[in-house]
Every structure is written in C-alpha cells, then in structure tokens.
C-alpha cells in the first residue's frame, strides 16, 4: 500500500499546499476574519444541513504587493488580508472532518504552470487520496493505464477529479477553496472557475450543497465576468480594519513583553490608524 501511495502521489506531482497554508496562517491572529464567519451570505454557503447556494466569491482590493510594483521583492513576505482570511476558512472547514472534506489551493503567480487547471486537479486529487485508500487504489489503476509518468492530460485530470469530488458519502459534504485566482493568467482563471462551476452545477441538480466552492480573488474585471452571477462578499475597509487591528494588538502585546509598557501610548492604535488610510 505504501508503494502504491508513493507512486500515486508521484503521478499526481501535486503542489504542496500545506506549506502555503502554514505561511498564510502565520499572519492570522486571534480575532482575524471573525466578521466573515458571522456574515449571513457566508453562513448560507457554509451551513452543513441547509445550503442555499453552493458557490461564493470573496473579493477585496488588490494586495499591497500588487499595487506597488516597486515592492516586488517584498511580495513573498506579504500575505494580503484576503489570503489570511482564506486560511481561516480552510482551518474552520478542516475542523469539521469527517462531516466535511476539504480541498484547497493557493494560487501563486510564480507557479507558472502550462495548464493551471491540471495543477489544481492534481493537487485536489492528492489531497483526497491521502485520506481515502479506496480512492487511492482507483487512481493507482488509472495511472497505470494512462501511460503518463505524471498526470498531464487535461481531459483525464478533469474526469478523475469530477468523479473523485463525488465520492462523498451521503452524510458528507465536499468543500473547495481556491485562493488568489487573480495570480493566474486570464485563460487559466476562466478554465478553473468555469470547470469547477460546471461540476458543482451538475451535482446541484440532484442535491444542492454536496459540493461547494469558495473563490477568493481581487475584485477586477475578469473576476466580475467569471463570478457575476454568484453571491459575493467584499472584504470592506471596515472589516479589513478589524483584522488589521487584531493583527496589531498581538504585536503590541509582543513588543510590550519585550520592552515593557509604553504607558498610555497604544502601538496597535497608532499603526492601525496609519495603515487605514492606505
């Protein structure tokens, strides 16, 4: 079994999303994104038993790294507010295993795939197969027949994933989270969003909410085209400011612990106020 697992994972040549998830989670502080979990549209999407709408688009202003090309070198250090919120949703979903199965993907401009959808499919398949031996063996057989050392046929990738996404038992739901779609090319964005939407719309004919997807991206023309007809939540400056305040509060305490009290001056308020005007 271990050999088979290794060869399937090799065939899927997946992107290690765990490390990206850890990166994004590092900037999450107590209180971050609380507003989202309480948002009505989010709850309607998330509610385990009654799902009105299986698709949701969470959008925000471009991250700081994008609006300031001269700061390109800081990009790897910057996780925009959106990605931090994505990591919170993923964490929340994962805490509901086995009722909820989660697959997730953080897009990065530097990925440079020839075909973004295939990379996403491979990653999702590996995330599902690691927790499901039956699925793993099934992929193993498909891999043996495929004649490919690495899964690269878009058609095969789509077929496998659409079946794998429907392997949930009746009591389970499948949740998909895709962060930072705007990092990819226009074609890849259209491909990924369009294909996932079609899978979910197909499955919704029988039962709405068995498969659901949250797209997180900046609010731009392409995203509006891709997501015009699905419910959306904007990371408003108010909610974003709450997140920055939570982030700064943690730092204020940390700095206070290192240097002692700053008296009546609250570093968190000083920095939040300045960061707000941007």
């Amino acid at each position: 079994m271990n050999d088979r697992r290794a060869s399937v994972l090799q065939w899927l040549s997946f992107v290690n999303m765990e490390s990206r998830h850890e990166d994004a989670s590092m900037d999450r502080h107590p209180g971050t994104g609380k507003w989202l979990l309480q948002e009505e549209k989010f709850r309607e999407w998330f509610d385990n038993n009654y799902c009105a709408e299986p698709l949701l688009w969470l959008n925000g202003k471009p991250g700081a790294g994008k609006s300031n090309p001269e700061l390109e070198c800081l990009k790897s250090a910057e996780r925009s507010g959106k990605t931090v919120v994505s990591s919170l949703v993923i964490e929340e979903l994962r805490s509901h295993l086995p009722l909820i199965r989660t697959v997730f993907f953080y897009c990065r401009q530097s990925d440079g795939y020839r075909n973004g959808l295939v990379a996403v499919a491979r990653t999702f398949l590996s995330q599902l197969a690691i927790l499901d031996d039956g699925l793993l063996l099934w992929i193993y057989e498909k891999a043996a027949k495929s004649g490919e050392t690495v899964l690269s046929s878009a058609n095969l990738a789509k077929t496998l994933l659409s079946i794998a996404l429907q392997t949930c038992s009746k009591t389970q739901k499948m949740f998909i989270v895709i962060d930072g779609l705007d990092e990819y090319s226009r074609n890849d964005r259209k491909d990924i969003a369009g294909w996932i939407r079609s899978v979910i719309e197909d499955s919704s004919k029988e039962d709405v909410g068995t498969i659901r997807c949250l797209f997180i991206s900046q609010d731009d023309g392409a995203a509006r085209k891709d997501f015009i007809d699905i419910p959306s939540i904007s990371i408003s400056s108010n909610s974003h400011q709450e997140d920055i305040q939570a982030y700064c509060n943690t730092w204020h305490d940390k700095i206070g612990n290192k240097f002692g009290s700053f008296g009546h001056r609250n570093l968190a308020n000083i920095v939040t106020a300045r960061a707000q005007g941007m």
Partner: protein
C-alpha cells in the same frame, strides 16, 4: 493595509532598546507610507547581516 502594519510592527519589535522604539515612534521618524516603512525594513535587514 496589512503589509504596512507588518513592516512597522516587525521594525519596532526588532529594535535593540526601548529608547530606540520611542525614537521610531517620533513624528518625524514614523513612516508615512509603505515606501518609507520598507526602507526601514531594508535598513533593519542589513543591520542583522
């Protein structure tokens, strides 16, 4: 803006003494924007080398 908060807070935390922190908070020194905050960050990185 998240990045700004992160740069400023990291810079404050990495100061050697409380006095240094106080200086960083002086109106003339406290960064106005992202550009200035990142300049401080690069200075800090250089000093850590």
């Amino acid at each position: 803006m998240f990045l700004f908060a992160k740069l400023v807070m990291t810079n404050l935390y990495e100061q050697a003494t409380k006095q240094d922190v106080d200086e960083e908070l002086e109106p003339g020194k406290f960064p106005e924007g992202l550009r200035q905050a990142s300049v401080y960050m690069f200075q800090l990185l250089r000093s850590l080398d």
